[in-house]
């Protein structure tokens, strides 16, 4: 059984400013396997974030079904952890209290909580920053806190919405490699939305290309590169990586119909 199953998913909404009816998604059918890392790319405005919000349960689809572990999604729940594009950690909680938040909500006892937090602080490399407040951290560190908070709550699937889009290029490369290591270590089922083709191919077991609005699944491209080989140093010279990236890039470009948006 697939971990995540989307069937005939469609979403329409009315733009509150223009009063126009917008068809964001149309007939998206997709399955994600247990332990799989699926990246979703597409031109901007193709409904990637809408798709993720529906999966998170923050948005009700107009039509279609969403199953996680065979159960229909009816609202947000702790079985689906989300890492948002903007830094969604609470400014009034320290690093460790932010990471512990999901565990607090689950009622995990204090001592056990502290042990789990320590493990994830180490996993995302934030030792020494446990007592800092978010405003004392860089953008990359804030996003590490958000990733650790989601992982510590131990969700069945992890949903990531362009999590590295608002950090600088150097930090982004580091975070991508770290996330690859985390995916390797935890074997979590991850659905990762991005507009960055290189990132999608670097991280994904498969890469799902969405068409321009209304979004449909245009192609599912497998990335046959083992996780342990995925570092930027190795991949920049890897012919499989280059070929896959060029294929995905071409698919996305067909949808943009131009040069832009296809980085």
């Amino acid at each position: 059984m697939a971990k995540i199953a989307l069937q005939g998913l469609a979403h329409e909404y009315v733009n509150p400013f223009t009063r126009e009816r917008v068809r964001a998604l149309e007939d998206v059918t997709l399955e994600v396997d247990e332990g799989e890392f699926l990246t979703v790319v597409g031109p901007s405005g193709c409904g990637k974030t809408t798709l993720l919000n529906i999966l998170a349960g923050l948005l009700q689809p107009t039509r279609g079904t969403v199953l996680v572990d065979g159960r229909p999604v009816r609202g947000p729940g702790r079985d689906r952890g989300v890492v948002f594009q903007e830094f969604a950690i609470l400014p009034w909680r320290t690093v460790e209290r932010n990471i512990a938040h999901g565990l607090e909500i689950q009622g995990v006892p204090r001592a056990e909580r502290a042990a789990i937090v320590r493990r994830f602080v180490a996993l995302v490399g934030l030792e020494g920053f446990e007592r800092k407040y978010p405003h004392e951290l860089s953008g990359g560190m804030k996003q590490r806190v958000a990733v650790a908070r989601t992982l510590a709550a131990d969700p069945a699937v992890m949903l990531m919405d362009e999590p590295f889009a608002s950090v600088d290029a150097q930090t982004r490369i580091t975070l991508q490699e770290e996330l690859n290591a985390i995916a390797r270590a935890t074997r979590k089922t991850i659905l990762f939305v991005t507009h960055n083709v290189e990132e999608a191919v670097f991280l994904g077991d498969r890469c799902c290309v969405l068409s321009r609005r209304p979004g449909r699944v245009k192609a599912l491209v497998p990335v046959p590169i083992p996780r342990e080989r995925r570092t930027w140093r190795l991949l920049t010279a890897d012919p499989t990586f280059a070929a896959t990236r060029d294929l995905v890039l071409r698919l996305v470009r067909e949808e943009v119909g131009g040069e832009d948006g296809a980085r």
Binding site: A56, P76, G81, E86, A88, L90, I105, H135, R149
Partner: protein, 262 residues
Amino acid sequence: MSGGRAATGRWELAAAWAFVLGTGTAAWALAAAALPLPAYYLPPPTAVLGALAELVVKGILPLYVAESLRRILLAALVALGVGVPLGLLLGMSRRLADFAYPLLNFFQSVSGIAWLPLMLVWFGFGERTILVAVNYTVFFPVIFNAMLGVRSVPRLYVDALRTLGASRGRIVRDVLVPGALPAIATGMRLGLAYGWRALIAAEMLVGAHGLGFMIFSAQAFHLTARIMLGMGIIGLLWVVLDYVLLRPLEEATIARWGLVQR
């Protein structure tokens, strides 16, 4: 670290203040001595100090200061205990907030002072009218700002907590209340500043002890030094209240979280 620089800055500030106060007082003393005016028009600084000594010795000033402080602190407690929760509640429901916004705006602008004539009819010339007028004045900025504070909490934080499986009550406790704290602090500061002014005005009109009563009743006997003393104390008390009570509160929480930049 910036500790050294901050300390230097404090000394510079103190020196600047000493200079301004010194020259101001000197100019005042000079004017009082040189200008051909009756003595009660512009009493010299020494006369104000004399009034201070006299009123302290007689025990009048400590009593009036205590009365005024008691009234404003009571209003602060009521605002904190009733106004803040009410404002938070209003902020949590879009429909309630939409409904309450114009009402709050209306009552906030009809100041406690404007209500005084009516309140005198309803509650009489006494303590009750003063308390109602001051509490009214403090109440609305406090409710208003608490409500706006809740509404200004980013939707993203709420969504993030929902995806962690948080209940409604948990979201209120962990996100909405702490997120609204900067606005609550602003509301308390504003409300109490307005309330302090309303208190003095109400004491002047109603006349039952307090600093407002002191300066108003002194006017009948041309006790100008006593009036100036009272005005000085009204201003000074507020500066001290703000400094020792409201600012440390703000610093202990929101400044530490980086929600306000200093």
